[in-house]
């Protein structure tokens, strides 16, 4: 019992530092790459670290119409909840620290908390721009939950069909990669469709273009973060970085949980750890490249009712088609 408590405490500290440092690092890489895609030079990779440092030296203004205790508490609560998700995901190919105490549904709900904290913070700012941005964020959340729920339940359902127990637990999902569970071409196509839908859901979760109507700088002057400054804004900035790492890790864990050491057959404790960690970081980088950077520089921003339409009609139907393919997987086989 006390072993779990000790593991939890140490794990939290280590993973919090890991999440923040790598979150900011990936943010920097993302800005550099998108700048090169737009034929600019872009900031150096350690720019986000400098941004956070600078935000900490700015004044922390609380507007007149805000509710102070909620205004100050929301960014902190968002960051804390986001860090707690890290303990349930297999980072770097290792077992999650709290692997027997939380599953995929918990992660799904905890992913709501950072956006919810931004929404509550926006509402608590007392400014009309912030209110409009906050309700847009809430509507975006409603929109992307539908395809996300379909993806998660489909994967769990398929694993359950094959007789596994505890199918929502991440340790079971990483032990049975989804491409191996598909017994025919329909299954593979179904899972590929779900992967594409998840890649399009990710910018919605992270409030990046084309789904960043809540933070539209050009329309509503910064949206729900308009009244935030100083250390509160730094908390939100860090939350965004950590959440990027988490979403990318989720895609890696659900669809590409392969460990390099298993493939290459390498043994030896520290070599496997180091190799797995590096391979994992590489996979996360590739996912961020495709789902955040490429999409961000390629398309324009959607209107809020277009966002709801996009997620609820085409993407939901697409993921339902994927679910149907997975359900019919056993009936069509390659001759």
């Amino acid at each position: 019992m006390s072993e779990i408590v000790l593991k939890t405490i140490v794990g939290t500290i280590v993973l919090a530092l890991f999440g923040i440092i790598f979150g900011l690092l990936y943010k920097g890489i993302d800005r550099k790459l998108s700048a090169h895609m737009q034929a600019r030079v872009g900031p150096p990779i350690r720019q986000p670290f400098r941004d956070v440092m600078k935000l900490f030296t700015k004044e922390n203004v609380i507007p007149r119409h805000a509710i102070p205790w909620i205004f100050n508490l929301a960014p902190l609560a968002g960051l804390v909840a986001t860090i707690s998700i890290l303990l349930y995901i297999p980072i770097g190919g290792f077992e999650p620290i709290l692997s027997g105490s939380g599953d995929l549904i918990l992660i799904l709900y905890l992913l709501i908390v950072p956006s919810l904290a931004m929404v509550v913070g926006g509402f608590a700012s007392g400014s009309p721009y912030a209110t409009v941005g906050a309700q847009r964020e809430m509507v975006t959340m409603i929109a992307y939950e539908f395809p996300l729920a379909i993806i998660i339940v489909s994967i769990a359902w398929k694993l359950n069909q094959l007789g596994n127990v505890d199918v929502f637990a991440l340790s079971t999902i990483t032990a049975n990669p989804v491409w191996n569970t598909a017994s025919g071409p329909l299954g593979i196509i179904g899972f590929a469709i779900l992967l594409i839908v998840l890649v399009i859901v990710t910018p919605g979760e992270l409030s990046k273009i084309p789904f960043d109507a809540p933070e539209a700088e050009t329309e509503i002057a910064g949206g729900l973060l308009v009244e935030y400054s100083g250390r509160n804004l730094a908390m939100f900035y860090l939350t965004d970085g950590v959440k990027t790492v988490i979403m990318a890790s989720l895609i890696v864990v659900l669809f590409f949980p392969y460990n390099l050491s298993n493939i290459l057959g390498i043994t030896g404790v520290y070599t496997t750890y180091a190799l797995d960690l590096i391979f994992y970081l590489l996979k996360v980088f590739l996912v961020i490249l495709f789902s955040v950077t490429l999409i961000r520089v390629g398309v324009a921003r959607l209107k809020i009712d277009q966002i709801v339409y996009t997620y609820w009609i085409p993407l939901t139907l697409l993921s339902l088609v994927g679910l149907v393919f997975i359900m019919w997987d056993g009936f069509v086989t390659v001759p």
């Binding site: 027997g100 599953d103 908390m235 009712d305 966002i307």
Partner: protein
């Protein structure tokens, strides 16, 4: 003992609360590295309205029914039908009761 196991997943709230407490302490310490002061009596605390004048408070507050416009707009057809069905007529309430009873009769009788 403190966790529930559903056969397809599990949840242990006590460990999660422990994580939250530790992360909260860490982030609180991190946050207190920043500045906490601001000039309270100057123009800083007025809301940012891109230079537009601030009207009286009743007109500045965004009311509840304006929220979620995007959601309501994109599901307009659905809501038209739904609101028409909720007519408020007591005889409509009993009508729905009879309809469900009839459907249930058919299901039990035929299947």
């Amino acid at each position: 003992m403190f966790s529930i196991d559903t056969g397809s997943g599990f949840w242990n709230p006590i460990l999660w609360v422990l994580v939250i407490i530790i992360a909260f302490l860490m982030m609180y310490i991190l946050r207190s590295l920043g500045r906490k002061d601001y000039r309270k009596t100057t123009e800083q605390i007025k809301p940012f309205l891109s230079g537009n004048p601030e009207l009286e408070k009743d007109k500045m507050h965004v009311r509840g029914s304006n929220l979620y416009w995007g959601f309501r707009e994109s599901l307009k057809g659905f809501y038209n039908v739904l609101l028409k069905l909720h007519s408020g007529n007591t005889s409509d309430y009993i009508l729905w009761f009879v309809v469900i009873m009839a459907i249930f009769f058919i299901i039990i009788g035929v299947i």
